[in-house]
Symmetry: C2
Subunit: 483 residues, 2 copies
C-alpha cells in the first residue's frame, strides 16, 4: 500500500483552510511543552516555514511526545485549525502522531542553536536540515531551473559535452588525470614512460576544464546551444572562491558577434536573478536577514551599502556598464588607490591583467554597477578568441559583479582558419590534436560567440554566502573529498 499519502507543508500553507483533515510528514525542528500542550515545529524541506503541530497529551502518548525531539522524523494526522498563537495563520491539531525515526538529542549534531559554517561543512550530510542550507539549496534549484527555462524558451538546445577528455581545452589550469592503469605498477614503454596505450581509452585522459570547444561544434550545426555540467581544476587554491569541482553553464551561438554575446549574457543574468526573486521570496527574505546580521559584525568601512535583496533588485533593474579594457585601464591608472599606491598590483603599463582588487574597485567603488569589460590584450587571453583589427586586442568580455568579481567570461570566437592557426602556432598549441576543432573553420565557418558562467559564483551572489563551499552540496577542495 502506498505510504506517501501526505500534503507537503508548502502546499498546505498555500491551499489548506481550517476544518480540513491533513497528514503531514517531516522532521522536528523544535519542541516545547507545558502541562497542557506540546508544540512541535515541523519542517519537511518543501519550504523554509515550519508548520506548527499542536499535541494534547490527553490524546498523544507521553512516550511518543518524549521521543519527538529535534531531528526526529514523524507522521502527523489531524485537523487544520486557525492558530491562536502569533507567527502562523493555521496549525494542525494532532489526532495521531507516528514516530518514523528518532534522533537522540545527545548525539544529533544539528541542535536548535547557532552552528558555525565550518562545523556545518564537516556535517554537510546533515546541514541541509538547517534553515540556511535548506534555503540555499532550494534557491540553487530554482537558479538551475531558470537556466534551462531561459534557453529552452529561446530555442537553444542543451548539449552534454564530454567530462573525460584527451584535450585540455584552454591550456588553462591544471587538470585531474583519469586512468584505470594499475598505479602501483603501470605499464611502461621502452623509454620507461607510462604506456597510455594500455589505458582504458588507449591514451592519456583528464577531466574537462570546459565544454566550450565541443560546444562550438554543436553550435555550428544547431545554431544556439548551451552546456550545463561539471568542470574541474586541479589548482591547489584553498580560498573562499575556488572549488576543484564546480558547475559551468556555457552557451555558444553561431551567427553572434561580440555585441550579441554581451546582450545575451546581460539579459540571461537578469532573467535568472529575477526568476529567483519571484520564486524564492521566503528563502531570500531569510538570507537577506542573515546577511544583514553578518554585516553588522563587520567594521563600518567594510560594510556594504546595499542589503542582499537590494543588490539583487539593483542588478535586475540597471543596465550593465560596458567599457573596453583600455578604458578600464585608464580609469584604474588615474584612480585614487592607484595614485596612493593602495593596490597590491599597481596599474602602470597597458597590457597587464586585471586583478581582483582592480575589478572590485571598478564595480564596487567606481561604477557601483555590474560591469562588462571587453577587448582585452590578446596576450592575456585564450587562443580561440577573435582577434580585433588593432592587432593588439581580442573580442573577449568579462562580466564583473559586486562582491563576487568575475562571474562570466566569454568572447567572440576566431572563425578565420588562418588567424586561428597562426595564433595556435605562436602559443605552441597542437593543431593535430585539435583537428576536429579546426575542421569547423574549414567547413562552413561563421561568426560565433559564447560565454561561461560559473554556477556556484552565481549562487553565491544570489544567496549572499561568502564561501563558495557553502553553495554546493558536497564541496571538493584540496584535501577534501568527504561524502
Amino acid at each position: 500500500m502506498a505510504f506517501n499519502k501526505r500534503i507537503k507543508i508548502k502546499s498546505l500553507l498555500e491551499n489548506a483552510s481550517a476544518g480540513e483533515k491533513a497528514t503531514l510528514m517531516g522532521w522536528v525542528r523544535t519542541k516545547r511543552s507545558n502541562k497542557h500542550v506540546t508544540f512541535i515545529a515541523l519542517n519537511d524541506g518543501s519550504c523554509i516555514q515550519n508548520y506548527q503541530v499542536v499535541a494534547d497529551p490527553a490524546r498523544i502518548s507521553e512516550e511518543i511526545l518524549k521521543k519527538a525531539n529535534t531531528g526526529a522524523s514523524i507522521k502527523v494526522h489531524g485537523s487544520i485549525v486557525d492558530s491562536q498563537g502569533a507567527g502562523q495563520q493555521t496549525e494542525i491539531l494532532a489526532e495521531k502522531i507516528t514516530l518514523l525515526g528518532e534522533a537522540d538529542p545527545e548525539k544529533f549534531p544539528i541542535q536548535p542553536k547557532k552552528h558555525s559554517l565550518e562545523f556545518l561543512r564537516e556535517n554537510a550530510h546533515l546541514r541541509v536540515r538547517t534553515n540556511t542550507f535548506g534555503a540555499i539549496f532550494r534557491i540553487r534549484h530554482h537558479l538551475a531551473f531558470a537556466v534551462h527555462q531561459y534557453f529552452h524558451d529561446r530555442g537553444f538546445f542543451y548539449v552534454h559535452t564530454p567530462i573525460i577528455t584527451a584535450s585540455d581545452a584552454e591550456g588553462a589550469g591544471e587538470t585531474f588525470q583519469v586512468t584505470t592503469l594499475d598505479l602501483k605498477n603501470p605499464p611502461r614503454d621502452e623509454h620507461n614512460n607510462i604506456n597510455f596505450g594500455e589505458d582504458f581509452f588507449e591514451r592519456a585522459t583528464n577531466l574537462t576544464v570546459s565544454g566550450q570547444l565541443e560546444g562550438e561544434l554543436a553550435a555550428l550545426a544547431l545554431s544556439e546551444i548551451y552546456t550545463f555540467g561539471p568542470t574541474f581544476r586541479a589548482e591547489n587554491s584553498n580560498t573562499t572562491r575556488h572549488l576543484a569541482e564546480f558547475w559551468m553553464i556555457e552557451p555558444e551561438m553561431a551567427f553572434y558577434d561580440a555585441e550579441d554575446n554581451q546582450d545575451l549574457a546581460e539579459d540571461f543574468l537578469q532573467y535568472i536573478i529575477r526568476f529567483a526573486l519571484e520564486h524564492c521570496k521566503e528563502d531570500l527574505a531569510f538570507l537577506d536577514k542573515r546577511a544583514a546580521e553578518e554585516e553588522k559584525e563587520k567594521k563600518a568601512e567594510l560594510r556594504s551599502d546595499m542589503g542582499l535583496l537590494d543588490r539583487l533588485e539593483f542588478v535586475t533593474q540597471n543596465e550593465f556598464v560596458r567599457i573596453s579594457y583600455t578604458e578600464a585601464f585608464e580609469i584604474l591608472k588615474d584612480s585614487k588607490p592607484n595614485k596612493k599606491k593602495k593596490f597590491t598590483f599597481p596599474i602602470v603599463d597597458w597590457g597587464t591583467d586585471l586583478q581582483s582588487e582592480h575589478e572590485r574597485f571598478l564595480v564596487e567603488k567606481h561604477f557601483k554597477k555590474p560591469v562588462i569589460i571587453s577587448d582585452y590584450p590578446k596576450a592575456i587571453k585564450s587562443f580561440y578568441m577573435k582577434q580585433n583589427e588593432d592587432g593588439k586586442t581580442v573580442a573577449a568580455m568579462d562580466i564583473l559583479f559586486p562582491g563576487i568579481g568575475e562571474i562570466v567570461g566569454g568572447s567572440q570566437r576566431e572563425e578565420r582558419l588562418d588567424k586561428l592557426t597562426e595564433r595556435m602556432e605562436e602559443l605552441g598549441i597542437s593543431q593535430e590534436e585539435l583537428w576536429w576543432y579546426l575542421d569547423t573553420r574549414r567547413f562552413g565557418t561563421t561568426p560565433h560567440a559564447g560565454f561561461g558562467l560559473g554556477f556556484e559564483r552565481l549562487v553565491q551572489f544570489v544567496t549572499g554566502m561568502g564561501n563558495i563551499r557553502d553553495v554546493i552540496p558536497f564541496p571538493r577542495t584540496p584535501g577534501n573529498a568527504e561524502f
Copy 2:
C-alpha cells in the same frame, strides 16, 4: 554592431507570411541550378526542415553561387514569397547572399548522400549537421528539459551530487581513478604502496558510479530531490548498450515506499515521452520513417510489430505491467523458449538473475508492454535495498522497455539502521567509510525510495537508434576519447 539580425527557420515557418522581408543564416544542405535559377536548401539547426532559397543569377553573382556548396555557411536577405514548387508553402527570393564560410566539396565529409553511422561516428564533430543527428540532439534536449520541468512542477529540487568521490556507491562496477600524482614516479609509503596522502584530495578518489547515496542525504532534508549528472563505468564492454560516460537521472524521495516509487517512475516516464511526442513532431516523424526503412532490411522474424511512433504512443497510453520477480520467474520457467532450451541461460532455480534474453521475452513476447519487476532476491541486489518480510527478497524494482531492456532500476531503501548494518557486514562493506550515510538512519530516518534512469537508454528508446553511441554527442567507450 550586432550581427545576429536574423530570423531562425523554425520561427519563419511558424510565423512568416508572403510579402515580408527576412534575413536568414545557416548552412547549405543542397544546391541545384539550371540556367534560370538556383535553389538552395538552407538549414540552421533550429528544426529539421530546410528553407528554400531562390537565387536569380541576374541578381546574385556567379562567384557566390558557385561557392554556396553543401556545408557552406551563408547569409541570405530577401523577400518571403509563396512557393511555386511542392514541398514548402513559402520560400525566400534572395536579394543578397553573403558567403560566411566555404566548404570545399572535395573535402567536406558530410555530402548529401547516405553515410554509414560508423562513418558519422568518426566525424562526430560534423554529424550534427545531418538530418538524423540534428533530430536526435534536438529530441535529446527536449527530453532533458522535460525531466527538469516534470520535477520542478512537482516540488522536487535538483541536487548536484559529487562527480569525484572517495566512495564507490554500490560496490558495483569498476571505476576510473582520479589523481594528480605523477604517474611516472608516484610517492610511495614504507610498504612501497602509493601514498595517496600526497594526492590532491589526500586520499584515493574515483569518478562516481551513482549519485544515489548523496541524493538520499538531500532527500532526507528536502523531501523530494533529483539528480541529473554524468556517471562513469570503467567496464571494458564494447556493446551497443554501454558507455564509459553516461548521464543518469536519480530521483530520491523521503516518505515514499516501493509502491509510491513505482507510481512515480511510471508517471515520469510517460510524461517525458509525451513531452517529446508533443514538442518534437517533425524530428520524430523523420526518425519514424528512418526506423521503418531500417526495419525493412531486417529478416521478417526480427521485424518489430510496431513503428517508432506507435511504440511511443503505446507506452504513454498503457499502464505498465507490475509483477514480482517470483511471478516473472514462474512465467519464464514455464515459457516455450525455456522448455525448448532456446535461452542461453536456462531458467531452473529461483534466485538467478534475469538476463537480457529473459527481459526481452517478458516485454516483447509475453506482455508486449513495459513491465515493472519488483521484489528481487536479495542476493542479487545492492546492500541499501529494503529487506522484505520474507527474509529472501528486497523491495527493488526494474522497469523494462521493449527493444531497450532495463531502463530504470530502483528500490525502497533500507531505513532501519540495524538491518542495514547487518547487510553491510554480510557483504563486507565498510561502515566506517559510509559513516555519513549511516547517520541518516541514526537521526530522523524514515521510509524513502528512489530510482535511476539511464538518460541515453531513454534517448535510444525515443529516437529508435540501435547504438547508444549515436544518442550522446561525443561517446566515451574503450579506446575512444576523441573530440
